[in-house]
Amino acid sequence: MSDLITITIDGKEIPAQRGEMLTKAARRAGIEIPVFCGHPKLDPIGACRMCLVEQETPRGRALITACTTPVSEGMVIHYGSEKAVDARQGTLEMILINHPLDCPICDKGGECPLQDHTLAHGPGKSHFWEEKHHKAKNYPLSDLILLDQERCILCWRCIRYLGEWEDKPQLGLFHRGGETVIDKFPDGELDAYTSGSIIDLCPVGALTNRPARFSYRPWELRKTPSICTHCGQGCNLRIDSRDDIVRRHVARENVAVNDEWICDKGRFADDISVSPARLQQPLARIAGQLQPVSWAEALQRVVSGLKGVAERHGPAAIGAIGSAKASNEANYLLGKFMRGVIGSNNLDHREGAALLADPRGLPSLEAARHADLILLMGCDPSEEMPVLATLLKRAAIRQAAAVVIVHPRRIELARYPGHCFQPAPGEEPALFDALTRATLAGRGEPIPAWLAGAAEDAQITAAANALAAAQRPFILYGSDYAWGFGARAIVASLTNWVTAAGHGDRLGFLHAQANSQGAGDMGMLPDFLPGRRPLADAKARGDLEALWQTELPSQPGLTYGGMLASARGRIKALYLLGANPAGEKPADAAALKALDFLVVQELFLTETAQLADVVLPAASYVEGDGTFTNSERRVQRAPQAVKPVGNAAPDWLILTHLARAYAPERAAAWSTTSVAALFAEITQAAPLYAGMTWENLGAGGRQWPWQALSLQRSVQPYKPAALPADPAYPLRLVVGNQLWDDGVVLAASPALAQQGIKAARLHPTDAAALGLHSGDAITLRSRSGSVRTTVHVDDAIKPGTVFLPYSLAGAPAGALFDEYAPRSAVGVG
């Protein structure tokens, strides 16, 4: 039976796919049947009657809803018949009876299907003259979303989205008849991390973006297709601006990346360009104080500062730290400047050499949708990549994918059937060994002697069997397991398990930062050149020397930690781009103060910038062109949407001018004048990017292939790392990302500063033993230092551990880090 069939609409034969909805088949043939409740991403319900058409049946013509009717061979439909037109008019008239018709002050005005459908299908005037029902207007569903119940046409899209995609059915239809309203349960929450999707989905102005409200009329907006840079997913979105001010972000469809959703951070954290805290002018330390200077003077000071150090101590005394939040172009040029102009390989970023990430990130985000098993180790997609979490929930519900979790916290996705292991810090390798052993045993393979002692239990066997039996598992590990003391053993042992189960090639890494993948791809590493080519590879160095017209140093440089640790020693000057070590670890602030010369290129006057000799104000990603490479190696464009604030300049332009000022004789190698041209150079420097151009990245980006770098994996013994107990500090520190952090980006958004719980977390038993309640102030101490914060009691926390999210204002986890970081021993008091 062929899937291609023929149906007839208004006497015209059109081809259709068997089983697709009539609305879809009609649209392909150019007939736009109006819909309200019908939506391609939501299950059909037929609630609004906007899409009525007539169908020929053996008993004559019948009115049907096109959005819920799958097409079948020979189907005959009348769309333009008098009865169908009448029915649709009637529906619209009904809807408009109680509609407040306040379009002039509605944010949706101008992009509202109700206006459009009324123009195309509605009656010209109403029969209705009675008083309308009045309902709640400007009613806050949350800090982020407002509901106008009078404008609501009861299409159920918001209700369905929260149920079908977020699995958080927090909105419902209450009361009945003309009184029916959408609402939350009294005093209920609307806290799904992608809750703002319902604003995009609402076909009328009933749900509006609270922070963005009344700041534009839709037709005056300049719409720039771009991406989100708040995490490693790289969701596609559109930046709408007016008068060079970003007014809102709306989701843009890219089925391979984010379907049609963005999370609330991506949607609402859009104030970076209007924050009064942004740096607008270069600053230089004059007589001990940072003072505004011209760009020419600032660059001159950078040149002479760096040259002075190079002459006195040699180029190896200079280092640079790039950023996993900055663009490919910024990181590439910072590397080119350091290696090619200064002559130093001291080059890294915070999530760089020390992070045991897979150099390819994760195989494919889209694979999450088809998974039959989801395995998450040391990562929490809900907090680190919320739209991925939404896709995973959908796989868990719609495809009954089992969810297997190994994490120190019982993360949100643990609510799905599967297995949740919460090994204490230090005990992860033993658990993974047991899983490996159970897997090998289950497959009847020999068990190596070093695994013989691993202890199994029923849950371990069940989880091992589930992974071994899975056909399309989606497997991720994340930064919680990938850096610091003991990480090598954790990553080796989890890799063993996944490899033993036959899925070694599906093991991916969840990058929490927008351009972690790209920063590595650009060679922002002490021992790798652009394109992930080893520094030790003479051919790779030769290629780059030809392209850059220079000689390259071949000695591997210092890592991020190494540079900071040497700041009182052989490192005399640092160039920091979008890095804020001083804010993350007090000890690093002290180290930076010891430098002869510090340059900071930044958006804000961070703790680190305050220590600098020269501060260069950078444009944010919406203020200049750039490319970013997401966790699945997808290179995407983020074109300029608004002008830079004040005198801020794009990173690539700053670095280009700096290099030309530093080495005028090399100006020929620094002559690109646009990001498109620069990107072309990058594709030559990084063969993984060969074939890409700024133009052909298009709206959806391009991926470099997973197979381009192949990793041979096999079950291997590894070196264990024992985490000693410390009776003086009885708890174990667990750090991690949370969506609503206290970082500079959210601090710049008044609407978001209040979101989330900003506290250290303890299990109820530990809290009770310490006599602590949620909201109490506490001091956490380790052998290295202490932080003060508040406590939140949470039974998702592993007993014996304390969870401290990164970037809590005034409580940097780094203050507690010792040689066992991040798994340091801590005490409360």
Partner: protein
């Protein structure tokens, strides 16, 4: 909804009802009915408990509870007076009756007296139009109501059984 006035709801009283329907699908309406029998109305804590036990989202439970007129989400008085305001009764003087009730008991239709003794509700046609205007006090139908008679009957009933539960 004001959570304060629902404080102190004893959820243990619900356990028998929930146990009776444990594991049965589609039992939401009977559960709500029984729960209302227990509490006289459906306080939010009860709806939340029912949602948890049945696995139905609380937004759905609340949707059902608000959809059917038989369910009450507010605490009701010990005595219920239903005043018919269907067309026939309206014409025959329900508005006058409503004013009299307000004058004497201080409650408008839809409200409950502060001491929790009396709730006045409006209904639309009880099918006894020949007896209009009609009122129903604690299940007892009273036709051809006049204001003095209504006030007196209600006073007597509320006074007589004032302190007791019905």
């Amino acid at each position: 909804m004001d959570m304060q006035s629902h404080a102190g709801v004893d959820l243990d009283l619900l356990e028998d009802v929930l146990a009776q329907y444990q594991g049965q699908r589609g039992a939401l309406i009977p559960i709500l009915q029984k729960a209302q029998d227990v509490y006289g109305y459906l306080p939010p804590q009860v709806l939340q408990r029912i949602a948890r036990s049945t696995g139905v989202a609380v937004s759905k439970v609340y949707g059902v509870a608000t959809f059917y007129a038989q369910f009450y989400l507010q605490k009701r008085g010990r005595h219920i007076l239903k005043l018919c305001d269907g067309t026939a009764c309206h014409v025959k003087g329900t508005p006058v009756l409503a004013t009299a009730l307000e004058d004497h008991f201080g409650v408008q239709p839809g409200q409950t007296t502060e001491d929790g003794a009396l709730t006045v509700e409006v209904v639309y046609c009880l099918g006894s139009c020949a007896l209009a205007p009609v009122a129903v006090l604690d299940g007892q139908v009273m036709g051809r109501m006049r204001q003095e008679m209504l006030v007196r009957t209600v006073q007597k009933q509320v006074g007589a059984a004032g302190g007791e539960e019905v």
